[in-house]
Each structure stands twice: as structure tokens, then as C-alpha cells.
């Protein structure tokens, strides 16, 4: 029981989330007209928010379609940079944040 509690507390949720997000983006089909969405705003009935199209834009970027990516959402390149840097930082601090010394 104590082991499970410790496992939950030290589980690297954020790292798993970012890496999972990047893997998910690789599997999106950006050219499909209608698609399954996780977006809570879309599911609530709002059809536009400032982040709309970011996933598709990042997906287009991995396929090399830079112009289409820019018109879908201009922050795609920046998002890759920021998320990649964050993953790097999380892995770099992984050891020091869990144990002293």
C-alpha cells in the first residue's frame, strides 16, 4: 500500500502527458474533414477557440507541409520547440527531483 502511494506520488504525469501528446499528433490525419476530438470545448458545443487547429498544424509540420501548417495555426513550430524543451528539462531534472543527493 505504501509502495503504491509512493508510486503515484512520483509518477511523472507531466512527462507522460507531453510525450503522449507528441505521439498522438503523429497519428492524426490532418486532411480528414471530420475527426474524433478530445477537445473539451468542442465537446461542450463551442466551435472555435484560439487553440483550434494546433494539433493539425503540428501534424502537417511533421509531414513537411509548412505552408498549410502556417495557415492552420502559426504557433505549430513554436509549440514543438516549447514542448521539446520542456521534455528535455523534465528528463534532466528527473533524478534530482526524486531523491536528494
Amino acid at each position: 500500500m505504501k509502495r503504491i502511494g509512493k508510486l503515484i506520488r512520483t509518477f511523472p504525469l507531466e512527462l507522460v502527458f507531453w510525450i503522449g501528446a507528441l505521439i498522438g499528433i503523429l497519428f492524426i490525419d490532418p486532411y480528414g474533414a471530420q475527426h474524433f476530438t478530445l477537445c473539451p470545448l468542442e465537446n461542450l458545443g463551442f466551435h472555435w477557440c484560439p487553440g483550434c487547429g494546433l494539433g493539425r498544424a503540428m501534424s502537417l509540420l511533421t509531414k513537411g507541409d509548412i505552408a498549410a501548417s502556417w495557415s492552420m495555426h502559426p504557433l505549430a513550430m513554436f509549440a514543438f520547440g516549447a514542448i521539446g524543451y520542456r521534455i528535455f528539462e523534465l528528463i534532466r531534472h528527473f533524478k534530482t527531483t526524486n531523491h536528494y543527493g
Binding site: F17, L41, G51
Partner: protein
């Protein structure tokens, strides 16, 4: 050996254990100084939680700015917290975010104290062995 509960009683959980690991190599004067500097610089995890909640009202990513992650802060603020998904994840994860930042601050404080030996004026006057 200094006791963390005497110098920084507001800490809890993993942070408490970590800071105790740092303080066990210090005497009381050093621990007192460390506690003052660390308390002034650390971020409370409740502040991270509240700034994170502001994300639901259109001001997403303020907690990322506060924790020094400017890139992700800009990304969050321009995409409404990655369409709320990032905000919700950070809402679950706010303690780890604050903990990670505080550990970094603790290490900065430690290296600052070890770089600057004049940082311990009280220790010198009391023991008199470092003159």
C-alpha cells in the same frame, strides 16, 4: 544537525523530506539563513493552483510564467491552455510543478551559500574559528 520542522514548518510532503535531507548537513545558524532565503524565493503550490484555475477564465498559462517556463506560458496564453487540456492536466499536476521549481530554488540557494563564505556572519562571531 538542524530540524526542518523548526526552520521551515510550512513545508509538507515530498518537499519536507527533500529539505530535511539538505538541512541535515547544516548547523542551526546555516539552517536559519537557508530557511530565510529559501522561504523568500519558493513558490507556494496554492498560488500555482489558483493561477492555473484562472486558465478557465481566459488567462491560461500564468502559472507557467511564474514557474519560469516562458515558452510554455506563451503557448498556453495564445491557445487558451491548449484548448483547456493543458490547464486540466496542470490542475492535476500542480503540486509536482511547484515541487520541481522549489527544488531548483533550494539548489540555487545552496550553491549561493557555499560560494559566498561571508554569508555566515553570525556563525563567525559565535564560533570564531573562521577568522
Amino acid at each position: 544537525m538542524a530540524n526542518v520542522l523548526r526552520h521551515l514548518p510550512e513545508l509538507e510532503g515530498m518537499e519536507l523530506g527533500y529539505i530535511q535531507g539538505i538541512l541535515k548537513n547544516m548547523d542551526d545558524d546555516q539552517a536559519n539563513l537557508f530557511a530565510q532565503v529559501y522561504r523568500a524565493r519558493r513558490k507556494d503550490n496554492q498560488m500555482v493552483l489558483i493561477l492555473c484555475l484562472l486558465g478557465f477564465f481566459g488567462f491560461a498559462g500564468l502559472h507557467r510564467f511564474i514557474l519560469g517556463q516562458v515558452g510554455l506560458g506563451i503557448l498556453y496564453i495564445f491557445t487558451l491552455g491548449l484548448c483547456f487540456i493543458g490547464t486540466i492536466v496542470d490542475l492535476v499536476n500542480y503540486k509536482s510543478l511547484a515541487y520541481e521549481y522549489n527544488i531548483k530554488v533550494a539548489h540555487e540557494t545552496l550553491s549561493m551559500m557555499s560560494n559566498n563564505t561571508n554569508y555566515f556572519p553570525n556563525a563567525n562571531t559565535k564560533t570564531g574559528d573562521n577568522a
